[in-house]
Subunit: 316 residues, 2 copies
């Protein structure tokens, strides 16, 4: 190992489906990488055993060089280092993950919201380089967000800020895992858009290749749209409408230079970006029309949150 990347930190990105782990140098180079399925980690104890298997030896081997561990997790709290009542994780209640991992690996652990971690990754290494005001939106199993203003992440008074996915998109709309109704993530997450497919398929008998798929995923909808399936295109328009309306409201609050879309649904590219931008524009105040960018992440899907989480460990 060259002296340049001798100092490393470990970044851990915990998602509802996947857990990505990386050993990262100061320049954002990922030196080693591991991946786990959340379904294989039904309890924290099993998660601890699994990461012991993949990173335990690595951390011990590079003892002096590993400066810290950064974690991005849904409902991750920057101030308390806990994951609190995350509706999309199998780990229920309040999990003192910083404490658990710092004991396990004898390293300082910094934890935040997964979308906040991705925002830091994007700000230091990706599409938000040089921006002081932007919003990271993760369209994955749920919808996460990280708001950056004046060059700093907004953590809020309690460390829980940035839950755009749980603002109300449609009053008394779809039931959400969080217990509320009509949350943005019930429409514009990878799982939300699948709910839209079922809703639209139930609505009438219009032909669509989506009728022939047993277990539909957001990738199937993208594939159908690529082949010109009218229902798939309508579904993206509807999803972009709901997302664009929410982005317009978010602009009115923090006036970001850009939204950076990230995660499974963002992979549908123009099918989701075009209607999102069109409907956002239609709902912006005059002063913002044509001024706010909606752009894709410039980091590899699995890397943004890992890089951001690892950067947390450098920062503090």
């Amino acid at each position: 190992m060259s002296s340049l990347n001798k100092n490393q930190s470990i970044g851990i990105d915990i998602g509802g489906t996947n857990i990505s782990i990386g050993a990262v140098d100061k320049f954002g180079g990922i030196i080693e990488q591991w991946s786990l399925k959340m379904k294989d980690c039904p309890t924290i104890e099993i998660f601890q055993n699994k990461i012991e298997e993949c990173i335990g030896d690595y951390v011990r081997k590079h003892k002096a060089e590993i400066l810290g561990i950064g974690v991005g997790a849904p409902n991750g709290n920057f101030y308390s280092g806990t994951i609190d009542f995350a509706p999309n994780l199998p780990w229920k209640g309040q999990i003192p993950l910083s404490f658990i991992l710092s004991k396990q690996f004898d390293r300082r652990v910094v934890l935040t919201n997964d979308a906040n971690a991705a925002a830091i990754g994007e700000m230091i290494y990706g599409a938000a380089k040089g921006m002081k005001d932007f919003v990271m939106i993760t369209l994955g199993t749920g919808v996460g967000s990280g708001f950056v203003a004046n060059g700093e992440l907004i953590y809020g008074h309690d460390g829980f800020a940035g839950e755009l996915g749980h603002t109300t998109a449609i009053r008394d709309g779809r039931p959400c895992n969080c217990g509320k109704k009509g949350c943005l993530e019930t429409y514009t997450s990878a799982t939300g858009i699948v709910r839209t497919v079922h809703e639209f398929l139930a609505r009438d008998n219009s032909p669509s290749s989506l009728r022939d798929i047993e277990t539909i995923t957001s990738k199937d909808i993208h594939n159908a749209a690529l082949k010109g399936d009218a229902l798939a295109l309508e579904i993206f328009d509807y999803t972009g409408k709901i997302l664009g309306q929410s982005l317009a409201d978010a602009v009115a609050i923090t006036s970001p230079k850009a939204f950076i879309l990230f995660g499974g649904l963002a992979g549908a590219k123009e099918f989701i970006f075009e209607p999102t931008i069109r409907h956002m524009e239609a709902n912006l105040l005059q002063i913002w029309k044509g001024k706010i960018r909606v752009i894709p992440s410039e980091l590899k899907e699995s890397d943004a949150a890992v890089l951001g989480a690892s950067a947390l460990a450098w920062e503090r």
Copy 2:
């Protein structure tokens, strides 16, 4: 004048109805105060003449002691020093007010959104003393807001952040002065609640003392509620519902410790606070229930923005 308050700044609060002006010392003491009606200032030239009459002599007399002028105005832009397309002011287009006033008075001028100025006033002298994360909401002719996160005002990438009044409260709802539909301020401003009165009076023939008033103001609705008028109470509940729902969504974004309500409608006290808090609570994620305060301003109605605007002049 004692040496303690020798250093002064001028704070100017520009509202849709009133313009308040104060000479303020470093301790928030208002040394002299002036007031103008916006209807007497139909153009910027007339406004310049009017303030020349009230503060021109004062500024010349205290030449050395007046360190600067701070202005809070609807659609005021911190970065450019301009008022841009303010729908509730008679001054149309883009007004380079900082430039105009700095030429007129030969003083440095700092300008921002009127609600941002009020937020600074509240943070330094009022209910938000010591808070690093809070939101100021002004319920006046329109609905303004100033978001403070990490101890700093969120200006956004272009200086226009903090327009909660123009987030959508009801999709395809009431037409707003801004050209959009269903904006929060068409329901929860002093003028919005009067629209609700007319809507509810048109709905049926239920008895209400409000039927006997020729030109209803928000003060009349408060008076009727004080006397137990059922329709007035229903109107406050409806208004608090819409405001509370919006506050819950704002919590999900910046997680403030408190909302500080200010302006005409906040004067209705428990009639507006109780339903606002109740409906906000009903729409909060579990993690925030019972944790976010909604409190009144601790500064005199006319003082918060004047004090905040004057503090702007100290700061930079």
